[in-house]
Structures are given as C-alpha cells and as structure tokens.
C-alpha cells in the first residue's frame, strides 16, 4: 500500500503532497498530482481579438492589467474563416493559409502581435494570448 498523501516535513521541506496510486508521496522524486512545493500556471488575463489588417499585414497591440513584473504568456493564431489553430506549429506552404512571418512580444501590461511580411492568402486572423500570473524570469539558467 503506497502512502498517497503526505503532510509534514520531509528532506527539510514542509509540504502537502498527493500522488497517484502506487507512488509514495514522501518521495520527492516521484510523480505527484499535487504538491504545495510546485508552481502552477495561473491565468491572469486573456486577449482574444481579431487583428487589424493593412495591405495584408496583420497587427495589433493590446493592454492588460499590469502585474509589476514580466509575466509568462502563450499565443495562438487562427484564420477567422477556417477556425484552425496555426501558430505556433504550422507553416506555409504546408498550410497555404499561414503566414510565415509572425512576430510577437509581451511586456508587463501590453502585448504586440504582428507580421513582418504580407500574407498571400488574404483574410483576417484572430489572436489569443493567455497571460499568466507566473513570472517569466523565474527560471534555472542552463
């Protein structure tokens, strides 16, 4: 019988940890379904907008409530008439509707999304940005 819930101190750490069947929760090297030590992606704001279109260049910039630090975010782009997610994994010519020249950047409180070359397919694109409360600068350098 495995110990699937651990609450207390182990290896110098105070934590609550819950594990799947067959896995001991006090073993920090094991899988866990919950750990109070862990970080989670917490959604802060969502941008869901049709981008502006000028001579088949696509662009937009949008504000969201500032956090006081640089947050993490995920971007996806869809063609409005096809409703398929293109960015980040699709490319032209494998998908002719896709523009190969998307660029984007995010700072605290504002995000910019744009193409640096004109699209040949025409039509409009929609951008969705999931902005998390997680800091972008909390990482292990490697």
């Amino acid at each position: 019988m495995s110990e699937r819930l651990f609450l207390g101190q182990t290896q110098g750490r105070q934590l609550l940890r819950i594990t799947p069947p067959g896995v001991n929760a006090s073993n920090l090297t094991s899988r866990s379904s919950f750990s109070s030590d862990g970080d989670y992606l917490r959604v802060h704001a969502v941008v869901d907008q049709q981008l502006n279109r000028t001579n088949n260049y696509h662009w937009g910039d949008y504000s969201f409530p500032a956090l006081g630090y640089l947050p993490m975010a995920f971007l996806s782009i869809t063609h409005t008439s096809l409703n398929r997610v293109f960015y980040p994994n699709d490319r032209n010519p494998a998908t002719t509707e896709m523009n190969n020249f998307w660029d984007w950047q995010l700072q605290d409180g504002h995000v910019w999304i744009y193409t640096t070359a004109a699209s040949t397919f025409g039509g409009n694109y929609r951008a969705r940005v999931l902005i998390f409360k997680n800091r972008a600068d909390e990482f292990i350098g490697a």
């Binding site: 379904s33 502006n52 640089l70 950047q105 700072q107």
Partner: protein, 156 residues
C-alpha cells in the same frame, strides 16, 4: 453552504469544488477545481532557460541536467524563446501601434515553427529527448546566432 473541501478515504483523496457545489468523488469534472486522482496535474517542478551560444560551424548540442534525478520520465513543454533581457521595436509595416515596447525593459516572446524534431535555421533542434535526470537537445543544423529556449518540467 456547500462543503467545498473533501479529504478522506484510504487511499486518501483530496477534492475541492466551485462555490455552491459539494466536493465529492462523484461531482462532475467541471465543478471540481482540484482532484488528486487527476494523475496528469500540470504542477511545475522546474523551469529552465537553455542558452545556445553561436557556434559557427560547430554543433551546439546541449544536455540539461535536472537538479536531482526523478524516478520517472517527466512531462515537459519546450519552446524557443522566452525571457528576453530587452524588448525590441514592434516593426510591422503599415501598423499603427498605440505604443511601442520599452526597450529598456525585458520582454517575453516565443518563436514558432519549432516543434521538437522539426527545426529550421533559426531553431536548430533536430532531436529533443527527455530522460529521468536530463534533457538532451541535438543540434544538426547549427545555430546561426545566439539562441535560447524555455523548458518546463512538470510534476507528473
């Protein structure tokens, strides 16, 4: 008043629920905010920023060692880009941005067309493998300039 915390049974199980719904194993998923039987929880164990310096014609293979070995091969996310120390101009032609990035502050972005094993001249990963104690990125295309990517290792 709903009982929004359920923690009992042997083996134990922790369930939390949305306001107005009693936490219980039979509660529909959409009303649960957490259930410890969801084995693929997305708790983050580590986040790495993996840096590739320009190597000329030399491959820049990288092995990222985890702080300690796990007893399983973890789930992960990988993308090129991530935390940048300085922003750049937002330079799309024909655009009229309401404001420009502050180039004195950091910015976050990610590159695209970058599925592991795909790669391009800008994203030179041909092979990407994660083990219980490390991540190996094999560069077969040679990084043209300094590059970095972000690796998120999850708790499951």
């Amino acid at each position: 008043m709903a009982d929004r915390l359920y923690m009992k049974d042997n083996p134990p199980r922790l369930i939390t629920s949305k306001p107005g719904y009693n936490a219980s194993p039979s509660l529909d998923y959409i009303y649960k905010t957490f259930d410890s039987d969801w084995f693929n929880g997305a708790g983050i164990r580590w986040m790495f920023r993996v840096y590739f310096s320009y190597g000329g014609v030399t491959r820049q293979n990288r092995t990222v060692m985890f702080p300690y070995a796990l007893d399983h091969v973890p789930k992960y996310s990988w993308f090129w880009g991530g935390y940048n120390t300085n922003a750049k101009d937002a330079t799309a032609p024909f655009s009229n941005f309401s404001q420009q990035p502050n180039k004195n502050l950091p910015m976050f972005n990610s590159a695209w067309q970058t599925a592991p094993g795909g790669g391009s001249s800008q994203t030179p990963n041909n092979s990407f493998r994660v083990y219980n104690d490390r991540c190996e990125i094999i560069d077969t295309l040679v990084a043209g300039v300094d590059k970095f990517g972000t690796l998120i290792v999850y708790q499951s």
